[in-house]
Symmetry: C2
Subunit: 340 residues, 2 copies
Amino acid sequence: MSEFRRDPLSEHWVIIAPNRAHRPEQFDLESSRQVPRRCPFCRGHEGDTPGEVASFARDRTACRDSQWQVRVIPNKYPAVAGQDQDLPAPPTHPLYEQRAGIGVHEVIIESPDHVLGFTALEDDQVALVFHAYRERLRCLANDGRLAYAQVFKNSGAAAGASLEHVHSQLIATAVVPTQVQRELAAAQDYHHRHGRCVFCAILEEELRAGTRVVRETEQFVAFCPYASQFPYEVWVLPRAHASHLEDTADAAIREVAQLVKDCICRFEVALPRPDFNYLIHTGPFGRPTAAPPQRPWPHFHWHLEIFPRLVKTAGFEWGAGDYINTVLPEQAATTLRNCH
Amino acid sequence: MSEFRRDPLSEHWVIIAPNRAHRPEQFDLESSRQVPRRCPFCRGHEGDTPGEVASFARDRTACRDSQWQVRVIPNKYPAVAGQDQDLPAPPTHPLYEQRAGIGVHEVIIESPDHVLGFTALEDDQVALVFHAYRERLRCLANDGRLAYAQVFKNSGAAAGASLEHVHSQLIATAVVPTQVQRELAAAQDYHHRHGRCVFCAILEEELRAGTRVVRETEQFVAFCPYASQFPYEVWVLPRAHASHLEDTADAAIREVAQLVKDCICRFEVALPRPDFNYLIHTGPFGRPTAAPPQRPWPHFHWHLEIFPRLVKTAGFEWGAGDYINTVLPEQAATTLRNCH
C-alpha cells in the first residue's frame, strides 16, 4: 500500500509508492528505446497483464473478448491501489499530513497491435481512445471515495514512458491534485472578480490576437499559451464553456481526439524529437462548495495540455517553481501552424 | 532582452528567453557526455568567456588575475540580463501579466582545472565555492531592483548541465520566484499560528525521530524530507535559526560546503547515476511587509535541497503538480547514512 505525504512548505502531495520501484525499466536512463521480447499490451497476450477493467470494440460498445480495440487494465505497478478498501481516517501529526494511498491506477492500451506512436493510429482509433477516457471518468465518478482522475500520456523514454506500445494512463485519487486545486482556485477567483470563466476569456483573447493559435476546428481551439512553460507547449480547449470532459458528446470526443493527433503530427514535422506528454485537466468529481450543483460549473473549463519533451528541467526550475522557455510562444505557434 | 510572463491559471512565472536557444548543446538529449575541444571555464581560457564579475583567490580575497580559484562570470546565454537598465513599468493587460527580463545570470566556475565533479574538489575548494555564493548574494542584495537570487547547480547531462567543467549558477530577478513565495507564505502562516519557525519545528521533529537523518554536524543537519519529491532527496539546514545564507559566518560556510560534498559522495556510493541538482532557498533581499527589519527573519530558515536525477517527471507530475516517489524517505536515509 502506498501513502500520500504532504510537504508542509510547498504543500505538494507526494505519493510514496515503493512497489513501483520494481518496474523493470526503472533507473535505466541510458536506453532511449526498449526492445520488449513479448509485449504484454499486444492482442493475444492478455494473460500477461492484470485482468481488464473495461474493453471497447470498434463500434464503441463494451466487449469482453479478443475483439477489443481499446483495453483498460489496472497498472501492474500502481502508484495507488486498494479499490475495495474503505478510506481510513488519516493519522494526525502536528507537521506531517498523511493519507492512505487508496485510488485507481489504470493503463489505457490504445491499440491491439504493436503500434508505437499515437499518430500512427487511425482517426477512428484515436476517437475510441478518447471515448474510453470519457467512459472511465464517468464510471470512476461514481466511486464516492474518489475526488479526481488525472488522465495522462507519456510517449517516449524522454517523457517517462516505460513501455513503447501506445498507451495512456489514469490515476484517480481521494485528493484533488495540487495543480488542479490551484487552477480551480485561480479560476474561481477570476470568476468572482469578473463574472465569467477565465478560460473563456483566454480563448476570446487568443482568437482575437490569433498569433498563438495553432489550429481551430468547429468545436475546439489549439494554441500555444501566452506563458508556455515549455517550447511548443499546446493547449486544446472546447470553444463552448464546459467544465467536465465526461459531459462531452460523441461528435466532440471524435473532434478533439483528431485535433490532438493533428497537433502531435505537427510536432513530428517541426521538432527533432517527438517524445511528449499530454494531460487532461477536467473538473473534479465532487462539486465545489461555492458552486451550484448543475454542470457545467461556471468557473472551470476542461482542457488538454501537450508538452513536447525537448528540454530538461534543471536546478533553477526546481528551486524557483518558474520556468525558462527558449522559444517564444508566438514563434512556436507560427511554426506549428505552418506544418502540414 | 527576455521577458517574464505569468500564467493566469498556475500563477507560475515563465522567463521567455529566445537567446538561450543558441546554446550549442540544446535539444541534444542523446549524448550524456560532452567532449569539449577547448573548455571556456579552464584557467588560461578566460578570454573565451564574458569578463568576470568576481574572482576569489585561495585565501578568499578578491583577485583579478590568473591566480583565481573560483571565478564568477556572466552567463553567455543569460535567461535575464540588462543589469544597467532601469526596471520599466510593466504593461497592463486584463489577463496576461508581463515584466521585463531584467536581472543577473551568473556562472560560478568552481575550479581553474578541468574537474568534472563537485566531490573531486578539495574541502578548501568547496568552502571557497560557498564563500563565493555568500559574497555574490551580499553584493546583489545592494541592487534595489533585484528581489531574489536563486543559487543552483546542475551536475551532469540528466540534471540539465550543458558544460561538464564543475560549475554552478545564480539567477537574480526582480520578482521573488513562485516556489520561494509559496514557501515564505506557508512559513509565515505557520509562524502566525504557532509562534515559531516551521523549519525549526521540522528540524526538531527530524532529530527526535532520527529515521530520516543522513548526517549531523556541529551546525548543520542533512536529512531526507518526510515528503521527499524524489528518491534520495536531501535537505541541509542550519541547526540555529537563520533566514539568510548571506549572514552565515566563515566557519559555518566551510562546514555546510563540506556537508553538501559529503552527501553527494554518499550518492556516488549508493546510486547508479550521480547526476544531481542542488539549490539554495534563502530569504529574499527585501524585507517582507509583515516582518521586522532585523535579521534573521523569525519565520524563514535558509536551506539547501539536493535532488539526484534518477527518474523522469512524466505526465502525472506535470498535470497533478504532485509527485510519485518510489523510495521511502526513511529507507533512502538509512542507505545514505550507511555509506562511507
